[in-house]
Every structure is written in structure tokens, then in C-alpha cells.
């Protein structure tokens, strides 16, 4: 008879623990010491924790996916086609292994093609992304709270208040729109889990930055007399200074090719427009107008881009411009993207020029700010082994 273990003190039925000695090292047998994931080659000598939780989660019919994708779109396309970008990594043109009765299931040796060589230098996975973003929101929150308690906003003059309510407010629409419709959209489309996870983290940086600004706006509406918390809507909808940025932002969300979208966003738009606004304008002019709080909020987003999002972007495109098979093809493709997107970004940047004269204490000259942004952009492009396009 089966007996049900019963707790002697309470009479409750409970599972009965048993000593099984099922821990590592208890016995030796084939594979007993083989304690690493064996299905991929690490980028360095030893597999990293990031690689272990990321690599090969998104399968590839060229490796081990012997039966192929099982569900397709209406045109029969399934999974993550390499053709969703014009860029190519070595091996991209190798056909998927053919399967037929008796074909067997073996694919190409890992990695099969160069897309799988990308590793996010930020090594983002869930533990890192929550730690990082929690630290950011806590710090931003504390900065704003501290400023409120110290009555720091009382130093603001009316022109600076107008500047913040309209222009800092307008930028949150850029962050939100790109975060959702460029980056979150792109993370469905790249060929490996390493790409898509890095892009999804980028997406959350932008959406979080947008919300940081929106909640900052809410605080300012409470504590700064006369602060119009909805003025950003009018600025974003109809202020001529912002319409250039808005037009490019909308155009960025319309890009079909996922790699072009990330390239145009992080290699072109952010250095020439985003950093121009954040680093060359807001960070410069705010202290001169008695505001030491706004730079800390905007600075968090600047750090997201400069130290993390740009870092993975550079690593991702650098692999492609130095690809052993398609470097020239990729550089030509990226040159075409630069030709299309740089003039649009420069136009949007120039349209922002009136912002440089709206405050009582003035920032550096607009042309000097733009030159600094261009110089930064040129450095990024050069690092990617691309020629710097004409920046007029």
C-alpha cells in the first residue's frame, strides 16, 4: 500500500524529503565533468555569463534547426530572415541546408555565418538591465526630490521656465517615439538573439528617458509657479524649431530595414541631433540659468546613449564594416544610408537654432555647438571605417 506521509505534529499531508545525493561530483561517468554549454564558441577564451544566457536561444536553420521554421507569414517566410536588412555578414549567401527524406539534420558548423559573432559589449541580460535602470531611476528621483526640498527651482527665471516646459518637454516625444517604433520594432527583426536583446535594452533606455522627462515635468508643474505642464504638446506639434526634429523622428520610424533603422538612429541622429540638444545645449545652458537639476535628468539619458547604446552599436556595425566577405558591400550600403540621413539630421539640427537664443544666460554659439556635434559624429563614423560625409 502507498502511504501518505503525514506530519506528526499537524497531521498535514506533506511531501517527504529524501536524500538522493544528486549533486555535482557525487559520481564519475561520461560527461559528468562537462559543465559548459557545448553548442557555441565563446568570443573569448572562456564563455561569459552573458553568452550563456543569450547565445543560440533564437535558433537558426543553418545550425541545429533541422526541421526548419514551423510557422510562417502569409508568404511562407518564417523566423528571422537574413534578408530583413541589406547588410551581409560572411556566410550570408550560403543556402539553408536542404532537408528531404533521409537528408539527416546536420547544418553548417557553428557559427555558420558572421551574424552570430556579435556580442553586446555591455553584456546586457535581465540582471544587468534591471540593476542599471533601477539605479538610474533612483538617482533621478533623488536628484529631483533633493532639488524640490532645497527649493532649487526658485532660482529659475521665467525665460528658463519657458525653455524647460517647451523644449525639454518636446524632447520626451522623441525618446518615446523612437523607443517604441524604431527600437522596440527593430528587436523583432535582427537575425540573432544577441542583436535583438541589445536593441530591446536600447528601446527601454529611450522609453525610460521619455518617462523620466514626463515625470520631471509633472513635478515642475507642482512646484514651479507658472510652469505650464502641457506646453510641450504645442511645441512638439507646431513650434517651427521642433518640426525638423519631428519630421526626422517620424521618418526614422518608417525605415523598413532594421539595421538601417538602428544605424540612422544611433550613428547619425543621436550624435548630430540628440547630443547636440542634450550635451551642447541643455547641459551648457542650464547651469548658467541657475538650474542644476535638469542636467542630471538629461544626463542620465546622455549616459545611456554615449556609454551603452552607442557602445553596442559600434561593436555591431564594426563587425560588418570589417567583415571578411562583405566589408565593401556593407560600407557601400552604409555610405548610402549616410547620404540619405545626414542631410536630414543636419536640417533638423539647424532648425533647432532658435533655441540657442531663448534663455537669459546664453549657451555657446550655435555654430560652435553644431561643430562639436559634427566632430563627435565624424569620430564615430571614422571608428566604423567609413568616410565622413560632407556635413554642411
Amino acid at each position: 500500500m502507498t502511504t501518505t506521509p503525514v506530519s506528526p505534529s499537524t497531521g498535514r499531508s506533506v511531501p517527504k524529503p529524501a536524500f538522493t545525493d544528486a549533486e555535482a561530483g557525487a559520481r564519475e561517468f561520461p560527461d559528468s565533468g562537462n559543465r559548459r554549454f557545448t553548442y557555441f564558441n565563446p568570443a573569448k577564451r572562456k564563455q561569459s555569463h552573458y553568452e550563456d544566457v543569450t547565445v543560440e536561444v533564437q535558433p537558426d536553420p543553418r545550425h541545429y534547426l533541422s526541421q526548419g521554421w514551423l510557422y510562417g507569414f502569409a508568404d511562407g517566410t518564417g523566423g528571422y530572415p537574413l534578408e530583413w536588412t541589406a547588410l551581409k555578414a560572411w556566410g550570408s549567401d550560403r543556402p539553408e541546408p536542404e532537408r528531404f527524406p533521409g537528408s539527416g539534420g546536420k547544418g553548417y558548423d557553428w557559427p555558420a555565418h558572421g551574424w552570430h559573432e556579435f556580442r553586446d559589449p555591455n553584456e546586457e541580460w535581465e540582471l544587468t538591465l534591471y540593476r542599471y535602470n533601477s539605479n538610474v531611476v533612483r538617482q533621478v528621483n533623488q536628484n529631483v526630490e533633493n532639488a524640490r526640498q532645497a527649493k532649487a527651482f526658485e532660482q529659475w527665471n521665467p525665460n528658463w521656465t519657458r525653455f524647460v516646459e517647451r523644449n525639454i518637454g518636446a524632447w520626451m516625444h522623441v525618446d518615446h517615439g523612437l523607443g517604441l517604433y524604431l527600437y522596440a520594432n527593430a528587436q523583432r527583426r535582427a537575425p540573432t538573439n544577441m542583436h535583438n536583446n541589445a536593441i530591446s535594452v536600447n528601446s527601454m533606455h529611450r522609453i525610460r528617458a521619455a518617462q523620466d522627462l514626463a515625470l520631471y515635468n509633472l513635478t515642475l508643474s507642482d512646484v514651479v509657479p507658472g510652469f505650464d505642464g502641457s506646453a510641450h504638446l504645442e511645441a512638439w506639434d507646431s513650434d517651427p524649431a521642433w518640426q525638423g526634429v519631428r519630421e526626422v523622428a517620424e521618418q526614422l520610424t518608417g525605415i523598413w530595414d532594421w539595421a538601417e533603422a538602428v544605424f540612422a538612429g544611433n550613428v547619425v541622429f543621436e550624435p548630430l541631433v540628440g547630443e547636440l540638444f542634450r550635451s551642447q545645449l541643455v547641459q551648457q545652458v542650464a547651469p548658467r540659468n541657475g538650474d542644476f537639476v535638469t542636467p542630471t535628468v538629461v544626463g542620465a539619458a546622455e549616459y545611456d546613449f554615449a556609454e551603452r547604446d552607442l557602445r553596442y552599436t559600434t561593436a555591431m556595425f564594426d563587425l560588418l564594416t570589417t567583415d571578411r566577405e562583405y566589408a565593401d558591400h556593407n560600407k557601400a550600403t552604409m555610405r548610402a544610408w549616410l547620404s540619405a540621413w545626414v542631410p536630414r539630421a543636419i536640417r533638423a539640427a539647424r532648425a533647432l537654432q532658435p533655441l540657442w537664443s531663448q534663455t537669459d544666460a546664453k549657451p555657446p554659439r550655435f555654430e560652435d555647438s553644431l561643430d562639436a556635434a559634427k566632430s563627435r559624429f565624424a569620430g564615430i563614423v571614422t571608428d566604423l571605417h567609413l568616410d565622413v560625409p560632407k556635413l554642411s
Binding site: T2, P5, N34, Q67, A184, R188
Partner: protein, 551 residues
């Protein structure tokens, strides 16, 4: 959050979205649904300023528990029978999770409600969390459990294994085809709302009973996110319902999604819970009892039925038939028997059932022993190599089944098998709803209506086709299910690691007859042979027994 209330903050972030003035966002994905009315509010009301610290705190608890488990030598009390099945489960589940992240953008253009997009973006990053936290758990098992084989080859093996392929539908169904069918109905309305209860609540409870308290730690943390995702799906469903032209598609998609989830999830999770446990207390719930509580009562009666008044046509017949398959037709037992029959094509070890297990099964499922007892006794008898073949090649009154073209679980309830020529190929299906899914639902027209965005079933859907005519030893080598001595198999039909002579090697398989693909053979038959085959097949079973001789 600081002094700002979540509600006020959430209201503020609604100001962030804007209608395009100059260019439209790219439209990558299509749907045959229309959304013209009844914009819904974002049900999550989640603001990232509170979301990130909340998730970080949940992480602290998970990783603290993992440290504690290792320091407290949890693996000295883990049941190997249980953890072996985790080699399958944890190889499957990170892909569905990350696919759910990838699915969210399918809804951006197709559900024109910016307020809902905020919730979808948070779901996206939640899913990145789930996928990587589950990979990390598997890594921990690999490092600390006695037998790392199968964990260490997990993502190679999952991708070419016949069980992994069944599970992969639970990912690919989210990311392709009609955007609403995939990312809303299949993913959030059925998979997350109905079946995560058995996946992430019922199964971890069983893990704890088998000495593993890390699975509950990780998966209950995951499930606390799922409840938010369910709200995403509900809001989209209400929007879809408000437009009557969607009702026909909703009926189609609910039938497909319900039946496919049942076929796939109940096959896998039912097997893990019933055949992976050592806890045979008679008052612990069986999978059937759990299913009745979590799925029939909580999902069907409490969630789905109230939606009927809004015009949702609920597949009452399929829900009752799913229950009928589980309770009367032995679905879970048939699947477990098949997985054990094919143990040699897997990458985990399957423990034989004992008298104690038999007694529990008979108590919970009266009549079980008459159906399955003898076969499991044979499994036990044939578990150690002793001059015989693995059970699949021995005469144990079991007819190797044909595979269902749609759900890819074999046609195990023999009397329900449907055979049809579809797209110029003879196919078998486990049931009429699976036949309907392929022949009727996944088509560019449905009941006379154009459905140009509906997806397709693609791929080499019968695993055996690839290895038609191959020797088993070559198959196992080709798939990579071999340990680091180059000959001992990862899979074993027992848990004994003490004596290498008791472990099966490629040499044992070399003597077996070659594999024959049932589908290839079916298509080589004459019409008369095929009709005779079908007539015989539906008379087979239960427990895979040959059809009785005609009197």
C-alpha cells in the same frame, strides 16, 4: 515612486505619444482584423520609475534563493527523475519567452492605440527577463546537478529533437502570420492566460515536492509578470470584439489557439507532472485535477464564458473534448508512453515506473494499469542493455504512431486519427481540430472570406522524414546526443549512473533495424493500401496496442 501617485504619473506619460504629421511608421506586419472603435485604456498602469526597482527587488529574491540553494546543498535532495525532465522543459521555454518579446511589435501598427503600446513595451522587456533568467537557471542546474549531459547541449538538442519541435510551436506561433492571431489570441489570450497557470504555477509546485525549490523561485517570479500580460491581451480582445467583422476571425483563432495549446502544453507539462514526480501521496493533485481547477474553472468558466455576452464565440466543444482527452482518452499517459518509447532520440534520462507509481496511477486514473501497466513493466525490463534492443524495436504490443502534421504530437488516440491529402501530400492528424487547422484555418480564405494575412504551416514537420532509412546510431550521432566519451548516449531509459555497463552506447543501437518514416511510407502506398492502413489505425490502442484481429 516619489510623491506622485502611480495613477497620476501614468496619466502624465500618456502625453508622450503623438500622431504622425509627416511620415507614417513602417508597417511590417498585417492583420485581417479591423480596429475602428472603442479605444481601451492601458490596463497595466505601469510606470518605469517604479517598474525597474520592482523587478530588481524580485531579482534580489531569486538570486538570493539560488545562493541559498547551493549553500544548503539542495541537490542532495533533488529527485533525478524530476530534474531529468527539466532538461527538456528548460531547453524549450527560453525560446517561447523571447518570442513573446519579439511578438510585441506585431501589435504596434495593427492595434492603433498608443496607450496599449506602453504596456506592450513593458511586456517586451519582461519577456527578455524571463528568457535570460530561465537560461540562467538551466546553467545553475548544469553546474550543480549530478548529470550535466543534456543541460550542456540544451539549445542544440532542443532545436533538432522531436519533442523540442513540438514545443517550438509555443514560440513560433507568437511571431508569424496574422499579427492579431499570433501576438494577441495565441500568445496572450490563450497561452498566457490559460496555460501559464499549469506551466508556471502547477509545475513548480511539483518541483518543490521533488526537492527542487529553485524552479518555483524562478517561475513564480516569472508568473508575477504574466498576470500583467494577461491584462494586455484582455484589452486588445475587448477592442477586437467591439467590431463585429472580427467575430468570425476571433472564433477561428480561439479554436486554433485553444486546441494547439492543449495539444502541446498538456502533452509536455502533463508528462512532467505525472511521470516526473516521486511524490505519490494520494491526496496530491493529479494533472487532471490541476487542469480542472486551473484551466477549466479558472480560465474557461471564469474568464472566457463571461466574454460570451460581448459576442465572443467560445469553443465549448473543444474545451470539453480537451477534458475528454485528458480524463477519458488518456492523453497524458499516451504521450508519456510515446516519449519513453522514443527515449533514445532524446537528451534526458527517463526513469522506469515502479509498483508505487502504478498504485498511484490506478488510484488517480482508475483502469490505468490495464491500459499501461504491462507496457511500463516491459520498459523496466528492457531498461538496461542485455542483448536486446531499446524498447522501440522490441515486440511489446506497441505500434509506432504516425505524427500529427499540425501539432506534431503523434496521433496517439488512435480512433481520432484523420488522414487527408492536403497540398498534394497525404498527411495524418491527431484529431479533427488539428486537421481543420491545417486544411481550413491556415489558409488565405476562410469560410469564403479573404484572409490574406493568415500564416502558413511550414517546415519539415515530421521528424522521422529526415532520418528515413538511417541507422539509429547514426541518427543519435547526427543529432549530437552522445556523451564526451564519444559513444555513451546522453539519453538512458533508467537513472543508474553507477556502472558504465548499464548505460546504452551507440554500439547497442548499431544492431537495430533502420528507421522508417511513417509519412514517407504513407505516401508510397497505393490508395487501397492507405485506406486499409487508416481503417486499421483507428482500431488500434489504447496504449498503442495493435488493432484486434477482425472476428
Amino acid at each position: 515612486m516619489s510623491r506622485q501617485s502611480v495613477a497620476k504619473a501614468h496619466q502624465k506619460i500618456q502625453e508622450l505619444s503623438w500622431e504622425p504629421q509627416y511620415h507614417q511608421p513602417v508597417s511590417h506586419y498585417g492583420t485581417d482584423y479591423t480596429f475602428r472603435k472603442a479605444a481601451k485604456k492601458d490596463p497595466l498602469k505601469q510606470v518605469l520609475r517604479s517598474y525597474f526597482p520592482m523587478q530588481e527587488e524580485k531579482d534580489h529574491r531569486v538570486y538570493g534563493a539560488q545562493d541559498g540553494a547551493i549553500r544548503g546543498n539542495m541537490f542532495r535532495q533533488v529527485q533525478e527523475r524530476w530534474l531529468e525532465w527539466q532538461k527538456l522543459f528548460l531547453s524549450i521555454i527560453p525560446l517561447p519567452e523571447i518570442s513573446a518579446a519579439r511578438a510585441m511589435p506585431l501589435l504596434f501598427r495593427t492595434v492603433p492605440n498608443p496607450e496599449l503600446h506602453n504596456g506592450q513595451a513593458i511586456q517586451m522587456i519582461d519577456e527578455v527577463r524571463h528568457s535570460t533568467i530561465q537560461q540562467n537557471l538551466k546553467r545553475l542546474y548544469m553546474n550543480n546537478y549530478i548529470d550535466p549531459a543534456g543541460f550542456n547541449s540544451s539549445l542544440r538538442n532542443f532545436q533538432n529533437d522531436y519533442c523540442g519541435t513540438i514545443g517550438r510551436q509555443f514560440a513560433e506561433g507568437f511571431i508569424t502570420g496574422d499579427a492579431i492571431t499570433a501576438a494577441s489570441i495565441y500568445l496572450t489570450i490563450v497561452a498566457e492566460t490559460a496555460f501559464t497557470n499549469t506551466l508556471f504555477v502547477a509545475m513548480p509546485a511539483e518541483a518543490a515536492a521533488n526537492g527542487d525549490y529553485l524552479l518555483p523561485t524562478v517561475f513564480h517570479s516569472v508568473q508575477s509578470d504574466e498576470s500583467r500580460h494577461i491584462s494586455n491581451g484582455y484589452a486588445t480582445l475587448l477592442m477586437a470584439l467591439s467590431d463585429e467583422s472580427n467575430h468570425q476571425l476571433l472564433e477561428r483563432d480561439l479554436r486554433y489557439a485553444w486546441w494547439n495549446n492543449h495539444a502541446v502544453v498538456d502533452a509536455a507539462i502533463g508528462t512532467f507532472i505525472e511521470y516526473g514526480t516521486k511524490d505519490r501521496r494520494k491526496d496530491r493533485e493529479s494533472y487532471a485535477e490541476m487542469w480542472r481547477r486551473w484551466i477549466y474553472d479558472d480560465y474557461y468558466r471564469s474568464y472566457l464564458v463571461p466574454l460570451e455576452k460581448y459576442g465572443l464565440v467560445i469553443p465549448h466543444d473543444l474545451i470539453e473534448e480537451a477534458w475528454n482527452r485528458i480524463w477519458n482518452k488518456g492523453y497524458v499517459h499516451e504521450v508519456a508512453q510515446f516519449f519513453a518509447t522514443g527515449w533514445l532520440a532524446n537528451y534526458w534520462r527517463i526513469d522506469p515506473m515502479t509498483d508505487k507509481d502504478f498504485e498511484w496511477f490506478e488510484y488517480k486514473y482508475p483502469g490505468w494499469y490495464d491500459r499501461y501497466g504491462k507496457w511500463w513493466e516491459n520498459y523496466n525490463r528492457l531498461s538496461k542493455p542485455n542483448g536486446h534492443h531499446p524498447i522501440v524495436a522490441e515486440d511489446v504490443d506497441y505500434v509506432y504512431p504516425h505524427r500529427c502534421w499540425t501539432c506534431m504530437v503523434p496521433c496517439l488516440i488512435r480512433e481520432d486519427m484523420v488522414m487527408d491529402e492536403v497540398d498534394g501530400q497525404w498527411r495524418t492528424y491527431c484529431s479533427e481540430p488539428c486537421h481543420w487547422t491545417d486544411a481550413t484555418a491556415f489558409r488565405p480564405t476562410y469560410q469564403g472570406r479573404e484572409t490574406p494575412n493568415m500564416g502558413q504551416l511550414i517546415g519539415k514537420r515530421e521528424w522521422e522524414t529526415l532520418y528515413h532509412g538511417w541507422n539509429w546510431a547514426d541518427i543519435v550521432s547526427d543529432m549530437g546526443y552522445v556523451r564526451d566519451d564519444g559513444k555513451t548516449m546522453v539519453a538512458q531509459p533508467h537513472l543508474d549512473l553507477d556502472d558504465p555497463k548499464k548505460m546504452w552506447t551507440l554500439d547497442h543501437l548499431r544492431r537495430m533495424p533502420p528507421v522508417q518514416s511513417p509519412n514517407v511510407v504513407l505516401n508510397e502506398m497505393t490508395d487501397a493500401e492507405r485506406q486499409a492502413f487508416a481503417a486499421d489505425y483507428v482500431r488500434q490502442g489504447p496504449a498503442g496496442r495493435p488493432a484486434p484481429a477482425e472476428s
